[in-house]
Amino acid sequence: MSTASASDNRRKAPAGERVADWADGRLGIYSLAKANMRKIFPDHWSFMLGEVCLYSFVIIILTGVYLTMFFHPSMNEVVYHGSYTPLQGVQMSEAFRSTLNISFDVRGGLLIRQIHHWAALIFLAGMFVHMMRVFFTGAFRKPREVNWLFGFLLFVLGMFTGFTGYSLPDDLLSGTGVRFMEGAILSVPIVGTYISMFLFGGEFPGSDFVPRFFSIHVLLLPGIMLGLLVAHLILVFYHKHTQFPGPGKKNENVVGMPLLPVYMAKAGGFFFLVFGVIAAIAAIATINPIWAMGPYRPDQVSTGAQPDWYMGFAEGLIRVMPGWEINVWGHTFVLGVFIPLVIFPLVLGAIAVYPFIESWVTGDKREHHLLDRPRNAPTRTAFGAAWIAAYFVMLVGGGNDLWATHFHLSINAITWFVRVGFFVVPVLTFIATKRICLGLQRRDKDKVLHGRETGIIKRLPHGEFIEVHEPLSQDQLHTLTSHEQPKPLELEPEVDENGVARKASATQRLRVKLSKGYYGEGNQIPKPTVQEYEEITSGHGHH
């Protein structure tokens, strides 16, 4: 088929088409385009959060490449004689000096540095919010669990790429962060001192960590992230995007506008919008002014020593942990540092494995392409809110000194609040969120059965005042009632049909119990039935 049409077109095909033909003959682009050119994407602002991340990643790569041309990843000690007077004649590492040069002597260097760093903060914030959007709408369910994990890994790797990145200028603040990292590594039982010596090429700080972090920051981690990102995007294309329920939107279809031209223009345009906003921020607000912090020296420090926000959670854990230390058999268990080091991945991991836990508990193995409204999955929503609460309590802990000075509180009191709050606040949040979800479900039910409150007060002939309720359209009725309400799992009868007793296993009983927590009585408001609706609407019309 292709040969026939190609020979027909050979005489007069326009140049573009001939190039496309050439490429198709080698790459098969026409088949690729057939499947994807008019691919449908649903429209919703929250579906663009992932794009924010993608584009800020691209911006970080572009600006990062520029920065490598001027940055010297070396810890050789030099004396500064550049254009920033308050550091004239001060001894510093070459890494720090070249960062000063980028900031003060390379035209536009400061702008690119600030775009790079602002984009990094926004990248991580974007990933966090994107992850929460996916979580609260249940978009992680089959078939997207693997993509959820890819996204999670991108978030974690992004954190470490950020950490290695802000350590590179070798300024007083980042050096303090690296010192913290060394202390944390030393706390690891048995191998801690060895890892520390190997990482720093000897004793801290040594003269190796900047070049080593440099290759990790510009090569190793971004390389892995790029791979994961491509896989993440391919899976998004392959699975097709999820959509919110609504008229005409089914689990078997996807409703929206085609990639070409609408999404090409919208998504392509959005890249420029994101880049433009970040460039404007970099013009207006300074970030990480390393010249004000000075070069790193292990015997100097500043108050308010915090990491970038995405590490604030770990900082909080380490700040509020009591100083437990056990000495036995000539060895030291540095629990005060090691426990936070273990809790950190555990808390992050809790959100990563959630999709698998939920599908095990509910026993739901079907594909889901329609999103849940968060209120219709109260237990999941409450769990997510509790997780965020724990995260934010720790962020408060990580900034306890600034909370103290800006709200005139005692740092000790805040630390105690966070110590207790880490356990209590998530529980309270869980309970409150669940109640709010159930309340919203009740409101939906009222709306379906009694219509929308119009605010119009009418006086009936016999003197009674009523508020007119306007019945919902069928579109709205469908949207509010289309969600599923599964029944909780039941334990199989203790005695089978032949009268033989069989004991349910402990995991089975746990599963049934958790399932009740998801779908049992009091954990979801039964949605209105057609009978209920008809009884009411056929009656007096108002209630």
């Binding site: 030393l186 520390s196 078997e252 433009g276 460039a279 000495n327 060895h331 069928q474």
Partner: protein, 350 residues
């Protein structure tokens, strides 16, 4: 192709009932199907469409102007010129000009493209079918057959010797990569236990770089010291100061609660390690009335009047104290190295 090219008479017909309406009379909650497409102003009013076109073109033009402005700023503004911009402050003129022009140049391209898409490209929503991701049973059966055949033909299951030695070889190979990392750094040895302090080394004031006399240090003052003979230019200065940094305060002898601490002081002058025992920040937020020092990183609080005991925060053990005395010439000097490792705890610390 945008929707204004659609002949006017075809438009209203699309506005009929829901597509594929499945609503049955009996079910008020049934899916009514996709709502009918409604036209935008630009779809029916050519004037409005032309207005949109002009807005898009204007945005793209604005972007071009901003790029010209970017290049002009780059060429004309000196890199060290500072200007006052309310309410931002005294900022670099170049950074501000480059950032804003770049921001506008980028933003306008994006805004133009999006405005174009939103107002002039078709906004008809289309439904596309999804196909199950799982393969059909026939496909699965075929794949399983192929795999079984392949496995059979390889003989991997039958020839155990080949299989086991291959796994052995593959498992062993990465070890060479592990071995290669050995030279990343030296073994810990006793490096974390020793500092630059030793018997007879004088305490050098880090501000004046002169040896400290006891009368220099007053009650309530705070001084930082390093061992005699250490220079900032030394190649190992950073490693050594990371362990040797010292904090000198003077207490009234009657205020020193810890007996050993009193013995190790000279005329009430106590010398403590400046390196926090939590994770190694230079701790030095000394509150002279309470004799507490606080760590600025994680708020561990130590009581210098009580042997450097931890009284709050995540640190696990007391600050090490350096034993000092006044030498014959009237200077403060160390009576040896710290008796325990300074800085963060580690497995071998014991």
């Amino acid at each position: 192709m945008s929707s204004q090219d659609i002949p006017e008479e075809t438009l209203p017909s699309a506005q009929g009932a829901h597509e594929g309406a499945v609503a049955t009379a009996g079910d008020p909650f049934a899916d009514p199907g996709l709502p009918p497409h409604e036209h935008r102003i630009q779809d029916i009013d050519e004037q409005a469409a032309r207005r949109s076109e002009r807005v898009v073109a204007m945005l793209f033009t604005l972007s071009m102007l901003a790029t010209v402005g970017f290049i002009a700023s780059y060429v004309t503004l000196p890199v060290d010129k500072n200007i006052y911009v309310f309410p931002i402050g005294h900022i670099s003129a170049l950074n501000f000009a480059l950032g804003l022009t770049l921001g506008v140049a980028l933003f306008c391209i994006g805004a133009g493209a999006v405005h174009w898409a939103r107002t002039l490209m078709s906004d008809v929503e289309v439904a596309d079918d999804r196909h199950p991701i799982e393969a059909s049973p026939e496909v699965k059966a075929k794949v399983m057959d192929d795999f079984r055949q392949g496995a059979e033909e390889s003989g991997l299951g039958r020839r155990k010797l080949i299989r086991n030695t291959m796994f052995g070889a593959l498992a062993l190979l990465p070890l060479s990569a592990v071995v290669l990392f050995r030279d990343l750094g030296p073994l810990p040895g006793t490096k974390l236990r020793k500092t630059a302090w030793s018997e007879g080394k004088m305490l050098i004031n880090q501000n004046t770089m002169q040896p400290l006399r006891p009368e220099d240090v007053q009650v309530g003052s705070l001084t930082f010291a390093m061992p005699e003979g250490m220079k900032e230019e030394d190649h190992d200065f950073q490693q050594e100061i990371a362990k040797a940094a010292l904090m000198i305060v003077r207490l009234r002898p009657e205020n020193i609660k810890d007996k050993r601490s009193l013995d190790w002081s000279a005329d009430g002058i106590v010398a403590y390690s400046k390196i926090c025992t939590h994770v190694g920040c230079p701790i030095s937020l000394y509150e002279q009335q309470t004799h507490h020092v606080l760590c600025p990183c994680h708020q561990s609080t130590f009581d210098l009047s009580d042997g450097g005991r931890v009284i709050f925060g995540p640190a696990g053990h007391a600050l090490p104290q350096l034993r000092i005395k006044v030498n014959d010439k009237g200077y403060l000097e160390a009576m040896g190295d710290f008796s325990e490792p300074v800085g963060p705890a580690f497995w071998e610390r014991g």
